[in-house]
Every structure is written in structure tokens, then in C-alpha cells.
Amino acid sequence: MSHSVELAGIGMTFGTTRAVSDVTFKVREGEFFSILGPSGCGKTTILRMIAGFIEPTEGRVLIGGRDMKGLGPNQRPTAMIFQSLALFPLMTVWENIAFGLEARGVGKAERRAKAEELLRLIALEGYGNRMPGELSGGQRQRVAIARALAVEPGVLLLDEPLSALDLKLRQHMRAELRALQKRTGVTFIYITHDQSEALAMSDRVAVMSAGLLQQVATPRELYDNPATPFVARFVGETNALAGRITEVAGGQARIETALGALTGRAGQGAAAGQAGTIYIRPEALMPGGATNSLTAKVERVDFEGAFALVHGAFADGAALAASVPSTRLGDAPAPGAEARFGFQPEHAVVLGDG
């Protein structure tokens, strides 16, 4: 049985609250797939529908092509890693890991052997007889993963499992999760509100907002070609200048803004005569620059070593964020001064509003 996960038009309504509306996407087998969105966007609801804790009010969940309707969490080929991890505090580490096997009636010797094997996989050999409370945050994290992997799930569902860790450990665990996923070949569906986490780990990312699916794409595509204004603003930083689109030709769009006419790639909904917005990434804005020239008032320059982050405001009030390489810092403006910036058309995207 393959372990692709397909959501076909699923929706969820709690009482009068619409948590998820008409979401359709397909996760390929063996993929590291993230669902990214701000809190309350419905991503946890989607995960719980895949796990089988709740049934969608509309649509279907298919795993390996099989409709999961009516199957409980214990009957689906999924295992979930909870935000709180939910390790059993009164069982030893190895009993925790082997709990799923115990539930399947596997004998004690075999359970112990399997637990040891998984402890090796997560590099916690010799920790089997400890209690979860005696482990550090990162170790507990790994035990939770081993516990889920012990039942050999086809799909691992992770509900923001790194959110409780400090930044350094979180970055380390990202790499570890990614490596573990490649080694086991299990389909990972990962929920997060942290866009850098989603971009760094995933093969593909689904972006959600207010219960609606915004875009499903690779991290690179999401960043370079946001499909909606929400994605453009939510994923990465951006400079957004609103205006009216005057011309769309040859994959490029020309937009008349308060700061003059600018050209970028034509994105979704970009049509001549429409209201639109041009989105320019901070690293695309260069001091000086002849094409697509803009003026802005610089308020603050944060030097970060490789880059200097320039903050300020454009003439129409929109916020300026530019990330200038140190090597070009010679041209960078001083705080309080007016400065000119430019960008290449291929580094900006024009989207229709609405």
C-alpha cells in the first residue's frame, strides 16, 4: 500500500465556526510536506482530520487511495507527534517507545528489542530505563518520534513539535528530522507557523489562511512566485507597493504606483486595468540602481555582518525593508536621509489585489 495522502475538498465546521473550507491537495509518498499558516488558520484541524481524531464535515481523506471515512486513529496508517509530545510520564523510555507494539500484543522480548533498535536510530542508546521526566527537551522530542515510528506508520503527522524548544536546539532538530525522514522514507506531514522552519525542511509547503488553502508549492517557488497577496506577505519579508496595473506583456507587468511606474514579473490575477500590488524582496532592493528606481526615507540601518538591514518608509507610507550586502554598504544611505533604490524586474512580482 502506498502512503500518499489526498485531501479532496475537505471542510470542517465546529458549531457555527468554519475552521476549514474546501481544501484539496495531495501529499506524495515519502514526501516531507509542511502545512504553514498563522495560528487559527485551520492547519491543526487538517492534521487531526488526517489522523482520524475528527471527521471532516465535507470532503474525503484518502491515504494510499483508500477512503479513511469512519476509521479511527488506531485504524489508520498514521502516527501523530503531539505539540506537547504526550509521552507517558509513568512509563520508562523504552515502554513509551514500545507502547504501540504492546497495544498490538507483541511479546515483551520482541518489544524490548524493537525499542533498543529505535533508541539506536535516535542516538539514545542506554536511555531505555530512564523516565521521560529525566530527559532533556531534545531527547524527549526524539523519544516521541521513536514512539511514533515504532508502529511503522506510513505517514507521520507532526503538530508543531519543535515549538517548545529553544532556537538553537530547534535548528538542530530541523536537520535531524529531515535526515530521519530521508532515512525512513516515511511520509511526513508537518504543521508549523514558523515559515523559516517550513522552508528549510520541506519538499513542498501548503500555505493556509483563515481556513482556506492559499498555495501548494516547493519552498523556492513559494518564495519566488507567491500565488496570493497573503503568501507574498506571510512567507519571507517583502516590500509591497500598491497601484494600478497598466500593461501585461511577455510575462512582465507594469504597474503605476505612487512612486512611479514599476515593472515586475506578472503573477496571479495580474491584468491591465486592475488594482494590483508589486512585491519586492528585501534582498532584491539595491542602493542606487537605474532600473525601477524608488526613493525612500531611511530610518534605521542594522548591521548584521554579511548584511545590513535597512528600514524606512516609502513616499506613499509603505514600509521599506532592504537587505544590503556588506560589500555594497559603501553606497548605503545614512539614517534620516532620502535614498534611491532599484531592483531588477525579474526579482519582483506583480499580483492582482483581491
Binding site: 489522523a51 481524531f53 479511527g72 486513529p73 488506531n74 498514521t78 502516527a79 501523530m80 503531539f82 505539540q83 506537547s84 504526550a86 507517558f88 510520564p89 509513568l90 512509563m91 507502547f99 504501540g100 504492546e102 497495544a103 498490538r104 514512539r147 511514533a148 508502529v151
Partner: protein, 293 residues
């Protein structure tokens, strides 16, 4: 103690501490010491008290050991109290679990209210209610006969009636500790166990009950002690064949006129109850401080 003094100052704190000490000495220590004193002396006419025959001995306790009927009633009281505790647990656990993990806030307040309201009424009156319900020509028999379940009325009074009344009377003492314990169990633990394929039975035996162990042990201890020391329920609902040990003690005091023997019997009951409590806590690996919470 230091905290108490810092907060209320020396004058008020000394009064508090003195009041507690007076309470402990007068209401707990003195009666128990007097009971021990009575238990170890023979029952003598007033003229002989303080005389050469008024010596300490274990004769009153030995009398209980030698008296077959009293011994049987004593042992029966112990196991029947354990049965009351177990039955109360079986009734309370599902309710407590539902209240702690499944009920909505609205449902919870309604159910709590329904369970607590009867406790506004005196225990004697609540037992009397059971006396009426279970009477030979009472409503329960009438309903069962009308439904055609039984043909002739059943005499409920006796062991069954005592058990029913006691389970009802002590339900709160079992329910609340278990509810508190289960309430603190994170919902994700149950979901995780379910997700890993555990059956409901395994979820309860491996996850919920171990977590709620302290609460369950507390409930057992409360219920057992209350049942073993109960007088009203066996007196009202018992039959001659279901006498409770407290009734024997009562008889020694108020009918036999032998306070010494009555005190000896009470002492034995107290010691045995304490032993049962300590063993239960030991088995559950709970200490008395947890129970007090």
C-alpha cells in the same frame, strides 16, 4: 510555621497555634487515650474502681477473639467495607472519567450539582430515603412488579440494602478525588495512546488509572473508613443476618453496659482500619501527604 508568624504577627499566630493544639489535644488525643484506658481495664462496679482488681490487661480484646459471633461480624465488616469501597469505585470511575475528560463545562456543572445536592441533607435522612425505597411494600418492589420483572416482592433489607445505601452515601468521597486526578491528565495522552492503537481497556489500565492512582487510593481509604465506621446504614437497612461491627460496639455501651468491652472493640476496629489504610497506601505507593491534598 515561620511563614505564619511573618504573615500574622506573633500575637495572632500564637493564638492560632494554641487553638490548633487545644483542638488536637482535647478532641483527638484525649478521647483516644481514654478509649485505650477503658479498653485495657476490666468492667467493675463503682466501688471496685481503683481497687486491687482494677489492673490493665488484654482481657477485653481476648474476649473478642474468643467470641465466635463477634469475631465473624468483625471480619465480615472488614471485607464488606472493602466491597463497599470497590463497588463505589466501579460506580464512580466511569462518571469521574466522563466528567474529567469528556463533559462540556455546562454538562459538568449540572452533573456536579446533581451529585452534590443530596449531600446537603443529613446522612440519616438520606439513608432513611433508601429505607423507604427498599421497603417490602415500597416503590422499588412496586415498580419491578408492575413491569413484570418480579412476581412477589423481594426483601431488599440485609446485605444488598446496606451495600446500596453505603455506596450512595459515600459516592462523593470516591468521586471527587478520582475526578481531580483524572482532570489533571492531559487529553493528548489519551489521544496518543489511541493513535498508537491501544484499546479503550488498555488506555484506562495503562494510562488513565496509573495517572489517577493517588486519587483512587484516596477514594478507597475514605470510603473504606467511612463504611467500616458506619452505623446508620446497617442499623436501618440491615437484617439480623447482616449485623455490622459498629452495632456490637453500640450494644456494649448502651445495652450491655460494659463500656470497657465496647472501648476494646472500638480500639480493635480503629487499629485494623489504620492497618488497612496503610497497606492500601503502600500498595498504591501513595503517601499520607498526597491523600491529605
Amino acid at each position: 510555621m515561620g511563614d505564619l508568624y511573618r504573615r500574622f504577627g506573633p500575637g495572632l499566630s500564637t493564638i492560632f497555634v494554641a487553638l490548633v493544639l487545644v483542638w488536637l489535644a482535647g478532641m483527638v488525643l484525649a478521647p483516644n487515650l481514654m478509649m485505650i484506658d477503658y479498653a485495657l481495664r476490666p468492667n467493675l462496679p463503682p466501688a471496685a474502681i481503683g481497687g486491687p482488681t482494677d489492673t490493665y490487661s488484654l482481657a477485653n480484646i481476648a474476649y473478642l477473639a474468643g467470641e465466635a459471633t463477634h469475631r465473624t461480624i468483625f471480619l465480615k465488616t472488614i471485607w464488606a467495607s472493602a466491597l463497599v469501597a470497590l463497588t463505589t469505585f466501579l460506580v464512580c470511575y466511569p462518571i469521574a472519567f466522563w466528567m474529567a475528560q469528556r463533559a462540556t463545562v455546562g454538562q459538568l456543572s449540572v452533573v456536579l450539582l446533581l451529585i452534590i445536592i443530596p449531600f446537603f441533607i443529613n446522612e440519616v435522612l438520606r439513608t432513611l430515603a433508601w429505607f423507604i425505597i427498599l421497603a417490602y411494600r415500597g416503590p422499588l418492589n412496586a415498580v419491578l412488579m408492575n413491569l413484570g420483572i418480579i412476581e412477589a416482592p423481594i426483601r431488599w433489607q440485609g446485605d444488598g440494602g446496606v451495600l446500596a445505601a453505603m455506596v450512595y452515601a459515600y459516592i462523593l468521597f470516591m468521586l471527587l478525588p478520582i475526578y481531580n486526578a483524572i482532570e489533571s491528565l492531559e487529553k493528548a495522552q489519551i489521544e496518543a495512546a489511541r493513535d498508537l492503537g491501544a484499546s479503550p481497556w488498555r488506555i484506562h489500565t495503562r494510562v488513565v488509572i496509573p495517572h489517577a492512582k493517588a486519587g483512587i487510593a484516596t477514594g478507597f481509604v475514605f470510603t473504606f473508613m467511612l463504611a467500616a465506621g458506619s452505623y446508620v446504614a446497617p442499623a436501618l437497612l440491615g437484617a439480623p443476618g447482616s449485623r455490622w461491627f459498629t452495632e456490637i460496639i453500640y450494644n456494649w455501651f448502651f445495652e450491655g453496659g460494659d463500656w470497657n468491652r465496647g472501648a476494646a472493640y472500638a480500639l480493635v476496629l480503629l487499629v485494623l482500619c489504620l492497618a488497612v489504610v496503610l497497606v492500601t497506601l503502600k500498595i498504591a505507593r501513595v503517601n499520607l501527604a498526597d491523600v491529605a491534598k
